[in-house]
Symmetry: C2
Subunit: 350 residues, 2 copies
């Protein structure tokens, strides 16, 4: 089993090579493996949207040496005709004896591959590094299951959960290394979302100031049309989606959509506009609305070892009446940045 | 230098053997070391209040083999006649060539040993593992410099700094492993202090439920005489100091003192009653008073990966107007207890 874990980790690493390149497809890596010789015959991964799946690439690279072999893949091989033929059929046709799979495909259209392999007499093992494989494709699974983008809430607070003093001052709570890591997080999301209060208070750029990294699309939630167009978020060449209920003339790089009061509808609309993953950097009000409406998938909470003893909470007004109904983070991970730290956890898993 | 660090770490480890046994004296370990042979000749530590100092024990254990040797000790050798003769004189008399010292003694009466050694022509190195040595004797230094006990504030909160819901519910925020570690912390302090609100809300026992560990003395801050005597904190055989402004008849294990409104006076009085270190476990009001009055030396903040989005802050009403005036933790350390974690830091260092 340990052997399969190592091979599956290699699949996951292969799959990651496509990060940022194959949106909105899943990240998949595949390995053709010879059990008797304990040897990897070939590897492959899904490189780009619309192109060959990982299994196809790995099998092609095996140059016909697949009969009686084992295939390892981090996502259930597809059983449907999409932009390419079903991988399950190719695996059967190639004469594999065994298939090791990390997780099922949650996409109803694509699933069924495992059953197909089993019906063809191929020995299958499901669930090797399942957690890691699900985490790898968290955006894809969220998209597939809900037709909404994956939402990651970023918070930077004191030990007592404050994001600003009572007088509004907030610069800087976290240290430079933590703020640099926040830039890296921004570069990993397709879009960054903020709201009226934060934009008016800080006039942030919301860009990525790292070499060779693109700034994400900006989604500005300003339903009451309060942010003037000369603010920083509107004034470089990065695409902006402005959520705003007034009709105004806008430069070409700003697209306007309206808000009908439902975050569910808003995120479904953004998904239709091909927005698959969003990092939010906003204040108490917006954070609280997203949490109350159960729209948040993951939290990255930077904490500085300071106490304000008063000020603005990062989330407020949840009116929870029982401890067990509090918002809980799952799969918690901690990172340290000198004396600051980052708590990462999931609110939802798929 | 690395060699001296290793030897100094050994001194610190030796010194720790006296933890809980030599109150209110410092923890000190000493090593007689042969530089030419790169060999430890003998060791010693200060075992009990009123008995021989570490240097005396190490030198005695060297059986006369000290001439031209090096002595390593984590605290400046004393130069005064206390309950025992000055160690500096003994080191000179023993013919040592070199003395490696971690930190000066901050006790005005005891310091001067380093100078004495230097005047006698002994080569000295000061500052090896100074931080660790100061941390080891944080209680002793605080006591010596301020004539007040060392105060450690314990907090258990959510990610948003809440210690209870708006309706007062607080059980349990942290997990079992974190609460077990809290028991260990209790056992390391001479006294545990709590206040009216917490006692009335939770009726805690404030004892140590670990094998072979004694429960600390209880200090109950109840200036308005609100806690009935049938509450748990008063009802085992552990000594209690009750801070209370009414005259009431009390069982023999409860000693009563009054509060004149000054925490400085209160802690000075407790010091006179031989209270040298206190862990506080109280609520928002009491925590805030201690912080406002600058009485806290160290914080142990347990955090559970939950969000209440409202409720009771662990410290409130500090009315800070500038970020740089926030309460800052120094020498921050993190411990993990499954998905809970502990942030430890100093507010003051000596």
């Amino acid at each position: 089993m340990n052997k399969y874990k190592k091979l599956m980790q290699k699949c996951i690493n292969l799959a990651k090579k496509a990060q940022g390149k194959n949106i909105p497809n899943p990240y998949v890596g595949a390995i053709v493996y010879d059990e008797k010789e304990n040897k990897i015959i070939s590897c492959g991964y899904h490189e780009k949207y619309g192109q060959a799946h990982a299994e196809v690439n790995a099998i092609k690279n095996a140059n016909g040496n697949t009969k009686g072999k084992t295939i390892i893949v981090n996502l259930e091989p597809c059983s449907h005709w999409g932009k390419t033929p079903p991988c399950a059929d190719l695996i059967i046709k190639s004469g594999f004896k065994k298939a090791i799979i990390a997780t099922l495909d949650l996409n109803k259209q694509a699933t069924g591959g495992l059953e197909k392999l089993q019906n063809a007499g191929i020995e299958t093992v499901l669930g090797v590094l399942e957690k890691e494989a699900k985490d790898l494709n968290k955006v894809f699974f969220k998209n597939t299951l809900t037709k909404k983008p994956y939402i990651m809430l970023k918070i930077a607070s004191t030990l007592d959960g404050k994001i600003a003093l009572d007088n509004g001052k907030s610069k800087w709570i976290t240290n430079e290394k933590a703020r640099l890591y926040c830039q890296k997080l921004r570069s990993e999301y397709q879009a960054i979302m903020s709201a009226t209060g934060t934009i008016l208070a800080d006039n942030p750029k919301l860009n990525v100031r790292l070499k060779n990294k693109k700034s994400p699309i900006r989604i500005i939630f300003d339903p009451n049309n309060k942010i003037p167009l000369n603010y920083n978020v509107f004034n470089d060449d990065v695409k902006v989606i402005l959520i705003n209920n007034s009709k105004i003339d806008l430069p070409k790089h700003i697209e306007q959509i309206s808000f009908d009061g439902s975050f569910d509808n808003l995120f479904k609309e953004l998904y239709k506009m091909n927005i698959y993953s969003i990092m939010t950097e906003a204040g108490s009000g917006f954070n609280s609305e997203l949490i109350k409406n159960n729209e948040v998938d993951e939290i990255n909470h930077f904490i500085a070892p300071k106490i304000f003893g008063g000020g603005l909470d990062f989330i407020k007004g949840l009116n929870i009446e029982e401890i067990e109904n509090s918002i809980k983070l799952k799969d918690v991970k901690i990172k340290q940045f000198e004396d600051n730290f980052l708590i990462n956890g999931k609110i939802k898993t798929y």
